[in-house]
C-alpha cells in the first residue's frame, strides 16, 4: 500500500491560504461577470432593453 504524506498547515498558513482562495475566487467571478456583461454591451446593447421590455409585458 502506498503511503500518502499529508501536509499539516500551521494556522498562519491556513489563514493565508484561505485569504488567497477567497481573492482568487472573487477575481475569477468578477472576470466572468465582466465578460458576460461586456458581451451584451458590445455585441447587442439593445438585448438588455428587449429583455427588460419582454419581462414587463
Amino acid at each position: 500500500m502506498k503511503i500518502v504524506k499529508r501536509i499539516v498547515l500551521t494556522p498562519e498558513q491556513k489563514k493565508a491560504q484561505r485569504s488567497r482562495n477567497v481573492a482568487i475566487g472573487t477575481m475569477l467571478a468578477v472576470f466572468v461577470l465582466t465578460f458576460y456583461v461586456a458581451t451584451w454591451f458590445k455585441f447587442d446593447p439593445s438585448a438588455i432593453y428587449d429583455l427588460m421590455r419582454n419581462q414587463t409585458k
Binding site: 501536509i7 498558513q13 493565508a16 485569504s19 472576470f31 465582466t34 465578460f35 454591451f41 458590445k42 446593447p45
Partner: protein
C-alpha cells in the same frame, strides 16, 4: 540586506506560501498604477467619438492591470537590487512576503489576461499598445536599459507615456497627433522627474550599480539636462490647447504650471552640485508629480464637463 525566504519548508518536497492577497496587490505598484489610470482616463475622455461607459471602464481596468503586471515583472527581476536600496527594501520579494517565482507567475498571468481582455472587449490596437507597453517596461527598460545605460529612464520613460495613447486608441481605434502629444508630455516629463529623484538618491543607485545619470555623468551634467528637458517640455505641455483638443482653462493652467516647473528646474540647475541637502531637487521632484496630476486633471475635468453638461471651458 539579503532576500528573505517567505516559504515555510514542510518537508523536502513541499513548500507552503504564507503570502496574503495584500502582498500580491503591493506587487502591482499601486501608486504608479494610480498615475497610469489617471492619464489613461484623460486619453479616453479627451478622444473624439464615444465609447460605451461599461466598455470604457473595462479598458481602464485592463490598462491598470497591465501596468500592474509590468510592475510585478519589474519587482521579480529587480529583487536583488530592491533588497539593497532603502526606498525599495520593504517590497514584497526582498522583505520575504513573496517568492520571485510567485511574482513572476502573477505578472505573466495578469499580462496575458489584461492584453487579451482589452483586445476581445475593446479593440486590438489598444491591446497591441498595452502588450508593447508591458514588454517595453519589463524587458527593454527593466532587463536591458536600467542596468546598462544612464539613458535608462529617458528611453524607458516611454512605457509610462503609453497609457493616454491606449485610452485614446480604445475610443478611436487609431493613433493620432493628439494622442502622440499626450504621450510626449509624459515622455519628456520623465527625465527631469526621475533625475531630480536620482540627484538626492544617487548613493542608493550607486550602491547597487544602477547607472543613473548623477553617478555616471555627475550632478552638474544631470542638472543641465534637467533644465534642457524642462525647456523642451514647455511647448509640448501647452500644445493640447493650441492643437484645439483642450480648452482655454487648460491653456492658462498648463502655462502657469509649466512656468512654475521651469522655475523649479532653474532653481535645481542653480543648486551647487555638491549640495548635501539637495532641497531644490527634492522640491522639483515633488512639484513634478503635482504638475502631471494637474495637467491631466484639467483635461479630465474639461472632458467630463463637455460630455455631461456640454460646457466648454
Amino acid at each position: 540586506m539579503a532576500i528573505a525566504d517567505n516559504t515555510k519548508k514542510v518537508d523536502e518536497d513541499y513548500v507552503v506560501s504564507t503570502a496574503m492577497p495584500r502582498d500580491y496587490f503591493d506587487l502591482l505598484k499601486p501608486r504608479v498604477m494610480s498615475l497610469v489610470v489617471f492619464t489613461a482616463i484623460a486619453g479616453l475622455l479627451v478622444a473624439p467619438g464615444s465609447i460605451d461607459p461599461f466598455i470604457g471602464i473595462v479598458a481602464i481596468v485592463c490598462i491598470a492591470i497591465g501596468a500592474g503586471a509590468s510592475g510585478a515583472l519589474n519587482m521579480w527581476y529587480d529583487a536583488d537590487i530592491d533588497a539593497v536600496m532603502s526606498r525599495t527594501e520593504n517590497r514584497p520579494i526582498p522583505s520575504g512576503r513573496l517568492t520571485g517565482h510567485e511574482a513572476l507567475t502573477f505578472g505573466l498571468v495578469l499580462s496575458f489576461l489584461s492584453v487579451f481582455t482589452i483586445g476581445i472587449l475593446v479593440n486590438w490596437l489598444s491591446a497591441a499598445l498595452l502588450a508593447f507597453t508591458i514588454f517595453f517596461y519589463a524587458v527593454v527598460y527593466t532587463m536591458w536599459l536600467k542596468r546598462s545605460t544612464p539613458q535608462n529612464i529617458v528611453i524607458g520613460g516611454a512605457a509610462g507615456a503609453f497609457p493616454p495613447m491606449i485610452g485614446w486608441a480604445a475610443v478611436t481605434g487609431t493613433i493620432s497627433p493628439e494622442s502622440i502629444v499626450l504621450f510626449a508630455i509624459i515622455f519628456i516629463w520623465t527625465p527631469p522627474h526621475f533625475w531630480a529623484l536620482a540627484l538626492f538618491k544617487a548613493k542608493d543607485y550607486g550602491d547597487v550599480g544602477v547607472p543613473m545619470m548623477p553617478n555616471v555623468a555627475g550632478n552638474r551634467s544631470t542638472q543641465n539636462q534637467i533644465l534642457i528637458y524642462s525647456i523642451v517640455l514647455a511647448p509640448i505641455a501647452v500644445a493640447p490647447y493650441f492643437m484645439g483638443f483642450a480648452g482655454i482653462t487648460y491653456g492658462v493652467v498648463s502655462g502657469l504650471f509649466t512656468a512654475a516647473f521651469l522655475w523649479f528646474a532653474f532653481k535645481c540647475w542653480k543648486m551647487p552640485s555638491q549640495d548635501v541637502a539637495m532641497v531644490p531637487a527634492k522640491k522639483l521632484f515633488a512639484f513634478s508629480i503635482l504638475y502631471l496630476f494637474v495637467l491631466f486633471g484639467v483635461l479630465i475635468v474639461q472632458a467630463v464637463l463637455n460630455i455631461i453638461f456640454n460646457i466648454a471651458i
